[in-house]
């Protein structure tokens, strides 16, 4: 595993922040007074003297050894398969009308988090809540708080800052996040500085599918159709619709997706993980089946939780249509290939993927080159 020897804030700044690699996941934040997530950017406030920094070590955009990470979490090496290690694929939907009223799709995430809290599996959950249109990490300990976080916020959110700031009393916790956030957690777990993080308190991780997030500049565009406080939901409906939907009390406004895509930060185009491969289970939309989620169960822990939710009558499950699975697999594969192409283009060397460390063989397979 790549260690953080001799790398601190200065390296983070050069290799990640100023290089446009930062995903704004928040893994570096809330640990020290030298940097702070602010308006979609990690603001560096002062020069830090620490030679081996947690910021650099936990960052999912520095020395990401896919083999070591996958091995540690899933017990197998990284083979570059489009969806990562999966035990079970299914389609699911909450049976709780209140959850469904708040949730993005089938409310699986909210339901599972509530269950984990109810059953005392965790004492808190690191979730994402939008305030005034700006998403931020929060620690939910009660059902109402989990419900307040339901729904997807498409702005990148420094959610892991909330994990880093966790009060010493809250233990254990669940974390819900995007693929880059799941990668950061996996990296924290293997970091030589893991002892000085809260990763030991994380006993459940729920990943979200993610093709891209949006930069904070998008708020300017959004505010031309609705003030952030009035937005109830935003959504990217599946193709062929090429729109970004903004739901308000007054109805739905559809922004042209191409215009919205202009706000995708360059860092997202360098991401090779669409389905949050480093989570206990991953949740996304079920294209063409409104009100349902696609669920990829990856670990025994994830599996137990889903089974328990079904047993308690909280989740309805069904098989994921074959066409959905094929489409998902293809999208995930395309994301991997694009990321590798973009990274190689950036580095100027066909086998140098900057932060991403892969075996030659896997890289070749992903790029479709021998």
């Amino acid at each position: 595993m790549a260690t953080a020897n001799g790398h601190g804030l200065q390296s983070l700044r050069q290799e990640v922040l100023e290089a446009g690699l930062c995903t704004y996941c928040g893994a570096c934040s809330g640990l020290c007074p030298y940097l702070r997530p602010f308006q979609g950017r990690i603001a560096v406030l002062d020069p830090c003297p620490v030679v081996q920094g947690r910021c650099y070590s936990f960052c999912p955009r520095t020395g990401l050894d896919m083999d070591a990470l996958t091995q540690a979490l899933h017990g197998t090496g990284y083979d570059g398969s489009p969806l990562g290690p999966v035990r079970r694929v299914l389609m699911a939907r909450s049976r709780d009308p209140e959850v469904l009223a708040h949730a993005q799709y089938g409310g699986v995430v909210t339901t599972l988090v509530c269950l984990a809290l109810d059953e005392g599996l965790v004492q808190g959950a690191v979730l994402t809540r939008s305030q005034g249109g700006i998403p931020q990490g929060v620690v939910a300990t009660r059902r109402e708080e989990v419900l307040q976080c339901a729904g997807s916020h498409y702005l990148a959110s420094p959610t892991l800052e909330a994990l880093n700031r966790l009060s010493p009393r809250t233990v254990p916790v669940a974390v819900v996040g995007t693929p880059c956030q799941m990668l950061a957690l996996a990296k924290m777990r293997l970091s030589p500085l893991a002892q000085r993080s809260n990763i030991g308190k994380v006993s459940l991780t729920i990943g979200l599918f993610c093709t891209w997030a949006l930069s904070h500049k998008f708020l300017e565009m959004l505010s031309t159709v609705a003030s952030p406080e009035r937005v109830r939901k935003t959504d990217v409906p599946p193709p062929p619709a090429r729109v970004f939907e903004v739901h308000t009390e007054a109805g739905v406004v559809a922004l042209p997706l191409d215009a919205v895509r202009a706000y995708i930060p360059p860092a997202c185009t360098l991401c090779a993980d669409m389905t949050a491969e480093m989570a206990d289970l991953s949740v996304g939309s079920a294209e063409g089946v409104p009100g349902w989620n696609t669920v990829l169960v990856r670990t025994p822990r994830g599996e137990t939780l889903v089974e328990r939710a079904v047993a308690r009558g909280l989740l309805a499950v069904d098989a994921l249509p074959q066409a959905n699975l094929e489409h998902l697999t293809e999208s995930a594969q395309v994301k991997k290939r694009r990321a590798l192409q973009n990274l190689a283009q950036r580095s100027g060397r066909p086998t140098d993927f900057l932060y991403l460390r892969l075996s030659r063989e896997v890289a070749g397979r992903l790029l479709g080159t021998p």
Partner: protein, 638 residues
């Protein structure tokens, strides 16, 4: 205790150079004194203010040096004797009017004291003001000691009235701030009536005629200076070397000659009136020497004039020379020192001289360190500027577009010191921060997108920021001006100004409200407590990002030094050793290394930060910056 208003003729008093100037002015019957404070000139007017009521004179702190000169010129035009004092940089501000006052003429005697700061001990520049005297054709006096400062000042008034010209009295730090025995003279018993004679005028125009008249007057003026008591010679009739010295350099020369035992072979000609040059007196002495060394503070001013004279009278031959700063025998920058004089003399006269070893300096430093804390230029513990500049730093870094501060002259300039945050990138003269920001704020069409924060103290704001601010408003510039209102002219020693409700003489005065003034200009103003970081940082970020014209933030909190010594601090502040993790924290000693308040120190034994109770002013600002919340505070009730 003797005060300057005591009439004790013939007695010897211990006076500081600036006090001696003030006493000289009182003995000459000065009625009006006005100035803006500026080190090393401040005590001239300050000591007059202290005795104003007893002496029956009027003393004011003016908003700036130009206004001060205008105020004393008014008094002079009405027939009263008057004095103003300023530092060399203040003279630049006053220049606009001074460069006309030489043509308008005066009525009551008028002395303009300028205290230069060789070595720039308390100034951002080390200009020599004397060239201004020759440029404006006004007489120039240079005292060497407190006694001479008194005598020359008193003498200057009759001279000023006789030739209807203002007189420049040029002092330096070592004359102004040295104390010495001074025999004082008599104070006048009567006072003239002030009246402006409307049958005459004080216009500069018609300039050409006035200029011609000024030049025509010079020979008489020069002749009068020749017979002044301020040209003296000490030494053998035919010296091996003639030292020509002005100001305090004469004392350095005497000291050096005594150390080298050269009094018998080297002579010192002290020239206390250096412009127009008293040619005859100097010519006489030149005639008896083959080599001349000129000693003076800052520029080779006297040296150049002397060289001109020597050339004109045919004294200069290949075997004779005039040595000094132009020839590299003395450095033409920095403060003149007895050491430099010793070195030059030893070299010229080829005498053994054991220069002070380099170790001496180090040794002296080492001994001194036993008695003084080794601390760079820092804001005092409890200084409101720390809160203001901290907020600016945080806001600029959060904004992330490489913003910066255009600074000004005051304690906040210590942002560039060891204890500061290095956000200030320009700083030279009063008011310039606002003017420069006004210019930068118009560069958006050329791709400029860095936010600009101008800072100025309250006294500086009144002094020179207002025209720049009006300019910014009128021309729709874009920046944030922080008026750091600490209710004091802190850097020069707490002289009152238009914002504090008191005059130089201690009387009640109306307060000129900065907020209302800015509002009157149509500029949005907000008032903040610089210690309320939760409010100031977001407000600043918003202001930097909005870029909507010029905005003023008044950061208001009195200078911590204004708090009475026996008053309780607002908070008791301490470091909770349970929470401070020391070097294990990962913060890299943030409070000490980044925040840098001298009230926080590193306890090497405990490996944690601790509050230095002797220094901490109890402001509580640091409690907001510790990432571990280890710095605690508790309100102290008086």
């Amino acid at each position: 205790m003797f005060t300057l208003a005591d009439d004790a003729p013939g007695t010897t008093q211990l006076l500081m150079g600036n006090e001696a100037i003030a006493r000289g002015a009182l003995e000459a019957g000065v009625r009006v004194a006005a100035a803006y404070p500026g080190t090393p000139s401040t005590e001239v007017i300050e000591s007059l203010a202290r005795v104003a009521k007893r002496a029956g004179i009027y003393v004011e702190w003016s908003t700036n040096e130009k206004v001060a000169v205008e105020v004393v010129a008014g008094a002079s035009f009405a027939g009263l004797r008057a004095i103003t004092a300023m530092k060399h940089e203040g003279m630049n501000v006053a220049m606009d009017f001074l460069a006309h006052l030489n043509l308008t003429g005066i009525r009551g005697g008028l002395v303009v004291v300028v205290a230069d700061d060789p070595g720039a001990w308390s100034s951002p520049s080390e200009n020599d003001s004397r060239a201004i005297a020759s440029w404006l054709r006004v007489p120039l006096l240079e005292p060497a000691s407190p006694q001479e400062a008194l005598t020359m000042t008193r003498w200057a008034y009759d001279f000023s009235e006789e030739f209807r010209t203002w007189v420049m009295l040029r002092s330096c730090t070592r004359v102004s701030h040295a104390s010495g025995n001074v025999v004082v003279g008599e104070l006048p018993k009567t006072s003239p009536i002030a009246r402006f004679d409307t049958s005459r005028d004080f216009l500069a125009a018609p300039a050409v005629q006035k200029h011609a008249a000024r030049l025509a007057q010079l020979p008489a003026l020069q002749a009068a200076l020749e017979s002044s008591p301020f040209i003296t010679y000490e030494g053998p009739p035919r010296p091996d070397l003639l030292v020509v010295a002005s100001g305090v350099a004469r004392l350095y020369a005497a000291e050096a000659l005594a150390i080298l035992g050269l009094q018998k072979s080297v002579g010192i000609l002290h020239v206390g009136v250096t412009w127009p040059l008293p040619r005859k007196a100097i010519e006489e002495h030149l005639a008896r020497a083959e080599q001349v060394l000129v000693l003076e503070e800052v520029d080779p001013f006297l040296e150049g004039n002397l060289r001109d004279l020597a050339g004109e009278v045919g004294w200069l031959t290949p075997k004779r020379s005039i040595l000094g700063k132009r020839t590299g025998h003395i450095e033409a920058y920095g403060e003149l020192t007895p050491q430099a004089v010793l070195r030059a003399l030893a070299l010229l006269l080829k005498v053994e001289f054991q220069p002070r070893s380099a170790e001496y300096e180090q040794k002296a430093q080492r001994y001194a360190q036993r008695y003084v804390v080794n601390r760079g230029i820092v804001w005092c513990p409890g200084c409101p500027h720390r809160g203001s500049l901290w907020a600016v730093k945080q806001a600029i870094r959060l904004d992330g577009r490489d913003g910066f501060v255009t600074g000004d002259i005051g304690c906040y300039a210590m942002d560039r010191g060891l204890g500061g945050y290095q956000m200030t990138k320009t700083g030279s003269v009063m008011g310039a921060g606002t003017g420069i920001a006004s210019g930068l704020g118009k560069l958006a069409p050329f791709g400029f997108n860095q936010p600009v924060v101008a800072v100025a103290g309250d006294s500086t704001f009144y002094h020179a920021c207002i025209p720049a601010l009006i300019n910014a408003r009128y021309n729709k510039s874009n920046f944030t001006l922080l008026v750091l209102d600490n209710s004091a002219t802190a850097m020069t020693g707490f002289q009152p100004h238009p914002g504090v409700g008191k005059t130089a003489q201690g009387d009640e005065a109306p307060v000129v409200d900065i907020e209302a003034l800015c509002r009157g200009l149509g500029i949005p103003v907000q008032v903040f407590d610089p210690f309320d970081l939760d409010k100031t940082i977001p407000a600043l970020v918003e202001s930097l990002q909005k870029q909507a014209g010029v905005r003023v933030f008044i950061m208001r909190r009195p200078c911590v030094l204004l708090r009475p010594r026996d008053a309780k601090p607002p908070f008791r502040v301490w470091v909770d050793p349970e929470r401070c993790l020391g070097d294990a924290c990962g913060c890299g000693r943030y409070c000490i290394r980044i925040f840098k308040c001298p009230g926080l120190t590193w306890d090497a034994t405990a490996g944690k930060t601790k509050v230095d109770e002797a220094l901490c002013a109890g402001c509580g600002l640091c409690t907001a910056i510790c990432p571990a919340n280890a710095i605690q505070k508790e309100a102290v009730y008086a």
